[in-house]
Structure formats: structure tokens, C-alpha cells
Symmetry: C2
DNA sequence: ACGTACATCGTACAGTGTACGGAGTACTGG
DNA sequence: CCAGTACTCCGTACACTGTACGATGTACGT
């Protein structure tokens, strides 16, 4: 399974699955053989529940099959392979995101809301940040999300290309942030060490080896950042700092666009 | 191997390895038994060459062992496990990064240079963007990198905590960008489809299923962004747009800090 | 010369995704 | 009613992963 990427075999197949397009377009729903004992949605839901509970690493074909009460190989009648299953999971959680109307808000609030909604998504489904999105799964969830989020950049004087770039930048930031958080969580889970325990264990040796003459700034700043923001608080600061900086950066661009046109 | 995370067994061991601290501190270098036929550095170098050539997925204990001409299990006399090997690889490429003095440049150029140096790193070693850095490997390479990059934010009026946050934000952006690029590359490699081939294959079905009435903005913007920036060009635009926006955002903060104090 | 600490490495195990082929089932055309 | 056929279901098997364990031989300290 090289790289967890999809589109093995028929490339069309993945898209058709995402949009739940029946195999025979326009023809009557002809069903031969035994009635399916499960469904694509049931498989995807089971996989999502599993990933929510135990992380992406726990999502294996055998485990998922167990949850939907079929044999492992039976999954392959619903889904071409694991990579496609992951794509389906991602599109499914995208589809369920809230999309409240924010047209009346100032643009900064609109954009911040997009960021927050995505952050919430990853808080509920940390694994979602870890799924590869090169060549993203262009399913209904993804499209609805894209459509909705683009609107946050309405009326800013950005052309279509820059509007896409602005959204991409924002989402990249949120996803990277979430990915780090998820990795930290996973690291703690399977090392059994909390951040504090880890520092207590490694701190002394690090102090012995890292002499402040060789790395003066690093030692000072690292200590300051480490002490001021322990663990989760640290992530919180990175979030607010990053988001504020991004918004400020966009506002500069918006001001320029407004001045020009 | 849950999660590719390190610090299995003795947590100290990883740090000691990173700094190449001998097992017996202060004692004479007592060597019993046969002379080692290889070394930690040789193992790490081989792994890096392998990852450079064939991607992170190709880095397996057996393949690396082959390259240093020992049996697979022999690697475990040099390195506690695969996760630690990955940490060592990362610290090694960090250590080799260029660190030209930029004190004379204006801060925007200094910060942009940091971004560019990191981008170059990931261009040479795409796999480096894919290694988990929750609880980053605090080796000499990492520390030297941190020390050097912090200096780019000298004299901006940022306190130590914000200085760390600013650097983190910048590096997060570069790494996320590189990760996407690496994933796209890997996806192309093992699907055998270029971006253009993929679109040619999937475009028709997508057009049939995605009606522009339901997703008007998405259809328009997506087409514009897709046509204006094909593949690599698209990534280039995301880079320059993102970096410029980040720098603008920082400049706003810097102006504020200057006005206050 | 002997004991001991160490490097080397063959074998084995539990786990992964999935290719393949067989068995059984519900529909179709004759 | 009876083939033929398309379909679901699934047991087995394969190549692959990281690594635990234990055997073997080597170079040193005494």
C-alpha cells in the first residue's frame, strides 16, 4: 500500500463513490445476487468512529470489517481499497461541518470563523488532519466546504486566483496546527509519557549537553517559551498568534487592493 | 511500530544518541568484543541517501542494513529503533543547513531568507517534511538551527515568547507547504499519473456531477485557480502568496510593538 | 588461559493491505 | 421451470513491515 494514496485501479471509481453515482447511469437499479449486508456509508461511518476513538493508526481493514460485522475481504465489495476509504472518511466529515451564514459580519470575523470551524473539525476528528490531500477527494463534502469557505472572502477585492490562494493559506495553517496537535497526542498515547514527564526525564541531560554559550538565544528563548507555555497552552498561543498574524497579513493585501481598484 | 514516534525504552537514549554522548560519562573508552563494523553516522547517512532517492516509504531497516552492508538486526546495535533513526536523520540534515550571517539585512529579508533556506532543505530532502516533530529531536542540528533562525527576529521588539511564536509560524508554513509538495510528488510516483493525466481522466465525470448552480463560486474560482496555475505553478503561487502575507502580518505586529515601546 | 562484555545476525512472530479463487444467492432470458 | 449469470461473501495466502529472542564468535581485562 504505497503512500496511502488513492486512485488505484480505475481513477473514475473514487469519484463515482464519493458522489455515490450508481454504476449504470440511467439504467434501472438491477440487483443480482444476494442483497448486500452492509453499505458504503456503514463502512465509512464505522471507520470514522474507529478513527475518532483510537486514531488513524488503528484504522485497518480487519478492524473496520469487525465493526460492520463482515469478513475483512468483504469490505472490498464496498470500497476499492484503504486509500479510497480514507478519502471517503474525509469527505464525510467535511460534509457534516456547520455552515452558518456569515454574510452580515465584517470580513475578519468571517475569515476567523472559517478558521475556527476547521479547528473544531480537527478537534473532533484529529485523524482528519493526517490524511493526505494532494489531489484532494473532490466529493460533495469537499465541494460544499469550498463553496462555503470561499464566500468568507467576498468583497475583499481579491481576484479568483488570489481568493483561492488566501483560503488555501488559511486552511494550510489550521491543518498544520491540527496535525502537530494530533501528533503530540499520538506521541503521548503510545509513549505513555505526558509532556511534563518527558521533560522531567530528558531535561537534566539536555541541560548538561546544551551549553548556553554556544546557543545563547536558543537557550533563553526556548526556556522562556517552554516555561510560559506548557504543553496545551503553548499550542493555544501558537494558534492565536498565527491566526492574528495571518489576518493582519490579509488586511494589508486587502487595503492595497482597495487602494488600487 | 506505533506512530513512528521515538523514545521507546530509555527516553534518555535518544538524546544521548543525538549528541553522541558516550555511554559511560567520564570513564575510559572501554571496548570489549569485536570492533563495530559500522557506525551511527554511517547508518544515518545511508538512511538519508535512501530517503533522498526513493522517499521516506522506502526507508526500512532491511534496506538500510543492506546499504551499510550488515544484517538487518545489526542496525539495532547502533540505533534503538526506526523512530530514533528518523529523528537522527532529521537532526543530521538540520545540522548541514547553511547559516549565512544576515545581521546587516533588513528584517523582512532576514525572515524571508530563513523561509527560503527551509524551503531549500525540503527541496533537497522532501521526506524531512514528513517526519513527526511533536516533541522535536533536540539534537545539535536542531539547536543550531533554532539559534540561527531566532536571530532573524532580532530587533523587532518582540518578547521571547512571541519571537518563538513568530518563528514557529513561519516554519509551520514552510513545512506544511513542503509536505503537500512531497505528497503530491509521491502520489504521482505511485499512481503513475501526472496531474494533467489525472484531470483528463477525472475531469469529465467531475463536470457531470458538479453542477454550477449548486456550487457557483466554487466552480468559477476552482476553474480559475486550476487553469491559471497548473500543478507546479500552482504551488509556486501558494508559496509566494503565503510568504508575502505572513511577512505583511508580521510587519503589522512589528509596527504595533514599535509604536507601544 | 579464562571469563566477560560485546557485535553480529538467523529465525520467528504479529501485524499490514490485498490478490485470488471458491461458494452460495438472487435475478434474468429461454 | 431451468439454465446462465452477475453478484456478495469470505478463507487462504503472499509479500511486506518492525523487532524480540537467542545463538555464535570475538576481543578485551584479569
Amino acid at each position: 500500500m504505497p503512500g496511502d494514496r488513492s486512485s488505484a485501479g480505475d481513477p473514475d471509481r473514487t469519484l463515482a463513490l464519493l458522489w455515490r453515482v450508481p454504476a449504470d447511469p440511467g439504467g434501472p437499479a438491477r440487483r443480482r445476487g444476494p442483497r448486500p449486508r452492509s453499505s458504503v456509508d456503514a463502512v465509512v461511518d464505522a471507520a470514522i468512529r474507529l478513527a475518532d476513538a483510537e486514531g488513524l493508526a488503528a484504522v485497518g481493514m480487519r478492524r473496520v470489517a469487525e465493526l460492520v460485522d463482515v469478513a475483512a475481504m468483504t469490505l472490498y465489495t464496498y470500497v476499492p481499497g484503504k486509500a479510497e476509504l480514507l478519502d471517503l472518511m474525509l469527505d464525510a466529515v467535511y460534509a457534516r461541518m456547520p455552515r452558518r451564514d456569515a454574510a452580515h459580519l465584517p470580513w475578519r470575523d468571517r475569515v476567523a470563523a472559517v478558521a475556527q470551524d476547521n479547528r473544531d473539525l480537527y478537534a473532533q476528528h484529529p485523524w482528519a488532519a493526517g490524511i493526505s490531500t494532494a489531489r484532494p477527494p473532490l466529493g460533495p463534502g469537499q465541494m460544499a466546504k469550498y463553496e462555503h469557505e470561499l464566500r468568507a472572502f467576498d468583497g475583499l477585492g481579491l481576484d479568483d486566483v488570489d481568493r483561492d490562494a488566501a483560503l488555501t493559506l488559511l486552511l494550510t495553517f489550521v491543518r498544520a496546527h491540527a496535525r502537530d496537535a494530533a501528533e503530540a497526542l499520538g506521541g503521548q498515547r503510545d509513549s505513555g509519557l505526558s509532556d511534563e514527564q518527558w521533560w522531567a526525564r530528558n531535561g537534566p541531560l539536555l541541560a548538561r549537553v546544551l551549553d548556553p554559550d554556544a546557543y545563547p538565544t536558543a537557550a533563553r528563548v526556548g526556556t522562556a517559551a517552554g516555561q510560559a507555555n506548557r504543553g496545551a497552552v503553548n499550542a493555544e498561543h501558537a494558534w492565536s498568534f498565527g491566526l492574528a498574524t495571518l489576518l493582519d497579513g490579509l488586511s494589508v493585501r486587502v487595503a492595497r487592493a482597495g487602494a488600487d481598484g
